[in-house]
């Protein structure tokens, strides 16, 4: 029976069909319009991947489910009794379904009573989320359907390499590309930048100065929508005071982007009838990432784009359920419905749904990197669901040490990931097409992903694992349901009245094919595909311009580490590669790590195409094959972050955090390039 589903990878959530074999085929769906990239096409291979786990592992040895669950429950209780509830930490993921993300947060707060829960989405969307909430009062990656982009004359993409990270998305940019309206900001000449009419290639870590420069140009050339500013925003005066000192020639000196190109970019945006500004990780994964996004929002507001039909501002979510995953309580400071955990009303509401006392709920915990950094010294046990922190966290050699310092590590995964290898107990769980659940894609649309294939014998769902553990930890059996629809019903109640309100979204409506974007407060509500058309989500209905200034990277190149390194993705792999590296067709295309370098820079280090280079920072070194790319800046190298062991790009990245979003500075650090002798 062919079953409709969605791709297991990125936030675009392309529509596909699974047929016996199993094989997948693309399906007509608005976000992908029948297209799939190579990852999507080959995704069925995941379902019978040779390394599939089907038996729980205790200290590396196969064990029965009962023994493994009993052992975990016992160890967690012991550690908790000895060191208190915060001795157990939980780490979630942006690929988990809404049901899992919700139940994981509830499990941490209620069954474990720990405040120590965060997730890998902290490494992904946290800066975008912080800036979105500051400016608009709510964070939904795209506050409009993806398909709206198809009518844009101009699109400014900042730090987004969509041609590789979500290829079918490029279809929606076709009109802008053909009209000479695509402007791309990226230090690299990426596959996306190659299609742009204007490519601005700033020095890594200087995007904020560039955004201020574009705002300056927009003001000086008279492109600011003053009427919109006065009706729909506050804060322009203070914002301009900062931008005033970033005239284009000044910006040029800091960013390396010519004043003429800054003017060209603004001209493209301002002459368009419909224009969008979209950011992604390239500009967000910085120690000033929240401010960087705010600066791009300021530009969009000055041009009068957000909340106007046919135009807008958005952030491109990365992980499959990166949007839903950040709304339902696996973030250190949040409760379901995008509620704040330190808000008494939010605590009261959620506690009532959960049938517990508000005072019993812990307060905010540590953010992802801070949590990982504190392992051993703080939490003695860590439970990991849907994440591969040994590869994906910054300064990963240090994170591996912290994982080793734990008394107890539990990992739920469907393959033996680099993190699972280190675990005391591994639970083999279902994946993607073997289980049901909802995902919220990059446009805030809730998608039902029904079970399409029977899981192999021996594996259980994450919901079952949480249920079994919670019962062993003394929770009433009904408090942690195993049926995804039952969990979703509870999630609807918990989110009701929150920013991300799912109260009116039901499996029934989704099965009937309704396109439901949150907020959807009741069952008669049609959902909200477009936010902000009338008002922004602040009390006065106005968007906030935040007066942010350029700070620059935390670590500047110097004589010892003269180059800047930046990291990113390739088309064939996804995140830590735990899934895609198991698919022969994808590893055949890109088998190992590489470092993109300008030929001159390679030559100065005595390196040529295909040589193995050592890329070192103050935190570690990576080995990678040299790819000479004439389009690279001579001061910058690029590494993909999908590879394990000595090839982990995150061995060198800088864990310095954004003060607001707690996002690590993945996208720039100072490095040295050497030949391996």
């Amino acid at each position: 029976m062919p079953t409709p589903t969605h791709c297991p990878y990125c936030a675009l959530q392309c529509g596909m069909t699974i047929k016996p074999g199993p094989v997948v085929e693309p399906r007509e769906f608005p976000v992908n319009r029948g297209g799939l990239c190579q990852k999507g096409w080959t995704s069925a291979a995941l379902l019978n991947t040779p390394g599939r786990l089907t038996t729980p592992l205790v200290k590396g040895e196969p064990a029965s489910w009962e023994d493994a669950l009993d052992h975990v429950a016992q160890r967690l209780q012991e550690l908790r009794a000895e060191h208190g509830p915060d001795a157990v930490a939980v780490f979630g993921g942006g690929g988990l379904t809404n049901e899992k993300a919700y139940l994981l947060g509830k499990f941490a707060r209620v069954a474990l009573g720990t405040s120590q829960i965060d997730y890998n989405g902290r490494f992904c969307m946290s800066s975008a989320a912080a800036a979105g909430i500051r400016a608009f009062g709510v964070d939904r990656g795209l506050p409009f359907p993806v398909t709206d982009l198809a009518n844009a004359d101009a699109v400014l993409l900042i730090g987004a390499n969509v041609a590789e990270t979500m290829p079918p998305f490029v279809q929606h940019l076709r009109r802008a590309i053909d009209a000479g309206g695509l402007v791309v900001v990226d230090p690299r000449r990426t596959a996306t930048a190659e299609q742009a009419a204007v490519h601005l290639a700033p020095t890594p870590g200087t995007d904020l100065a560039l955004a201020l420069g574009l705002l300056h140009v927009a003001v000086a050339e008279g492109h600011v929508d003053k009427d919109y500013l006065s009706r729909r925003t506050v804060g322009f005066e203070e914002t301009w005071e900062v931008a005033a000192r970033w005239w284009p020639e000044q910006v040029e000196r800091v960013t390396g982007v010519s004043a003429a190109d800054q003017r060209r970019a603004v001209a493209v945006l301002s002459r368009a009838d419909n224009a969008y500004v979209l950011t992604a990780r390239g500009t967000e994964q910085h120690a000033s990432g929240s401010d960087m996004v705010s600066a791009w929002i300021n530009l969009a507001l000055a041009l009068g784009l957000p909340g106007r039909s046919g135009s807008g501002f958005g952030c491109l979510t990365g992980q499959g359920n990166g949007q839903g995953g950040r709304e339902h309580g696996q973030k250190a400071d949040q409760l379901p419905g995008y509620r704040k955990i330190d808000d008494p009303a939010a605590r009261e509401h959620v506690a009532e749904v959960w049938g517990v006392e508000p005072e019993s709920l812990p307060g905010p915990g540590k953010s992802a990197y801070e949590l990982l950094d504190s392992l051993g010294a703080g939490p003695r046990a860590l439970m990991v669901f849907g994440s591969n922190v040994a590869v994906s966290a910054p300064r990963s050699a240090h994170v591996a040490e912290r994982l080793a310092a734990l008394d107890f590590l539990v990992v739920a995964d469907f393959v033996l990931s680099e993190t699972a290898v280190l675990a005391d107990v591994v639970f083999p769980v279902t994946q993607w097409a073997e289980e049901g659940g909802t995902m919220t894609n990059l446009e805030g649309r809730v998608l039902l992903r029904g079970r399409a294939v029977t899981p192999p014998p021996g594996v259980r769902t994450d919901l079952e694992v949480l249920h079994e553990l919670s019962v062993r930890l003394g929770q009433p059996a009904e408090r942690f349901p195993v049926d995804e629809e039952a969990v979703f019903s509870e999630l609807r109640k918990a989110s009701a009245g929150g920013a991300a309100d799912y109260a009116g979204i039901s499996y029934e409506r989704l099965r009937a094919g309704e396109a439901l974007h949150w907020p959807c407060p009741d069952e008669t509500h049609p959902g909200t595909p477009r936010l902000f058309l009338d008002r922004f989500a602040h009390a006065d209905g106005k968007a906030r311009m935040i007066a942010v200034d350029h700070r620059g990277p935390a670590e500047l190149p110097d004589d010892d580490y003269p180059l800047s390194a930046t990291t990113g993705r390739v088309l064939q792999h996804y995140q830590s590669g735990a899934q895609t590296r198991r698919i022969p067709e994808l590893t055949a295309a890109v088998p190992e790590a590489f470092v993109e370098v300008h030929p001159d820079t390679a030559g100065r280090a005595g390196l040529g195409e295909g040589d193995v280079a050592r890329v070192s920072s103050r935190r570690g070194e990576v080995l990678a094959k040299v790819r000479c790319v004439p389009g690279m800046r001579t001061d910058t190298v690029f590494l993909p972050f999908h590879f394990p062991g000595d090839q982990r790009a995150n061995l060198i990245t800088n864990p310095v955090l954004d003060p607001i979003s707690r996002m690590p500075e993945f996208k720039v650090c100072a490095v040295r390039l050497e030949a391996v002798t």
């Binding site: 490029v170 076709r174 005239w247 010519s258 004043a259 001159d600």
Partner: protein
Amino acid sequence: MSPRRVVVVGYGMAGARLAEEVRRRDPDGERVALTIVGAESHTAYNRVLLSSVLAGSLTPDAVRLRGAENVDLRLDTEVSSVDRSIREVVLADGETLPYDALVLATGSAPWVPPTEGLRTDGGALAQGVHTFRTLDDCARIVAATAPGSPVAVLGGGLLGLEAARGLAGRGNLVTVVHPVDHLMERQLDPQAGAALAKSLRTLGIELRLGVLATRYLPGDGLKLDDGSHVPADLVVVSAGVRPSTELARSCGLTVDRGVVVDNALRTSDPRIFALGDCAEHPGTVSGLVQSAWDQAVVLADLLTGADPSSRYLGTPVVTRLKARDIDLAALGEVHTEPDEPGAEVLRLEDPARGRYAKLVLREDRVTGAILLGAPDAAAVITQLYDRGAPAPADRLALLLGRALPSPAQAGPADLPASAVICRCNTVSKGQLVSAWRAGARSTGALADATRATTGCGGCRDAVCGLADWLSAQEPA
């Protein structure tokens, strides 16, 4: 412990930036109590943007700088003297301000050439003569110029040309009178000066080079030393500035051209510092905002104790003309000739279009450049110069700001078999050819066989082209 009392004399860009940098390090004034004395009646503004105000692209309000918090700001106030023995600043009204550290940020003042008639007998500027230095100057010039009226600009340096361009953009008939025979002679070599002159003339600006104005007649214009006459309702004087050092001199500090300071920005009295245009630091050209801003960072580190080892070691000078439709950058050694030993000099001249690019390198590092009408090149060259980073081997691409276009896009026949046609699905030409030979004889069949075109669809034309090429190769 009570905070140190720091008094700053001067509330221009340097003084304002210093206040901001101090407060960034000491937001609540726990370490430094800051008093700033400013002679102008309004808050500080961004002088760099005055040419944009003159050109009408920014309003006067838009160039004001934000005031720092926690500062005792005394506007419209003159300092009459400093008593170093008891560490007091004496204001014009007799009030005294005791200090632990004093900072001179008195800036500079326009120099008015000794042309007869520019000043009245009393020393004031004559009717119709304006300097171009302050926001008030800007307002007066704008108020006094009717569209279409003739204006003379005295001085063909950076600021004079920015003023000329701004006024021409407002519709004035502008003549620039410059005593040297090429424009911006400090920053440009003669060829660049000539190319710039050509560009300005194209924009309707008249240039009188190598001549001196000898006499100004109000309501009439300027007489030049070659006997000619420049009609002008208004004369804008932009002939350079002189550091304002009167206060420093009067209290006995060492003054050369400006107030002499060391790397800690200390004057000859270690309790008195100076920064910005009024200061003279060895090896630093004054009069540029970047120097003042870099100095403010160092001085704030020192005054607040945030970094006692902070020192100012100079600022690389990059000159950028801000004038609509003219893109000019100049930096480092600009007069070096191609035959100079040890130097590598590249030069591209396109006088017909007013373009000129010159690049000077030594030991693989950029040491000088002039880029006129080559807007894409300036950004990269400036960064290489600022950082002292090695220059790319492709010098021509560096000079032009772009690589030379590659040979015409290769057709299907010329592509290697390994060339990836469909990126979304990593499909090479070789795979498509094999699929064709195996019977996939249309774009749709090729897509079914290889998945090419099934991602973003951007390669559809390329796949069609390949199919056509393969089809044409088939024997009839």
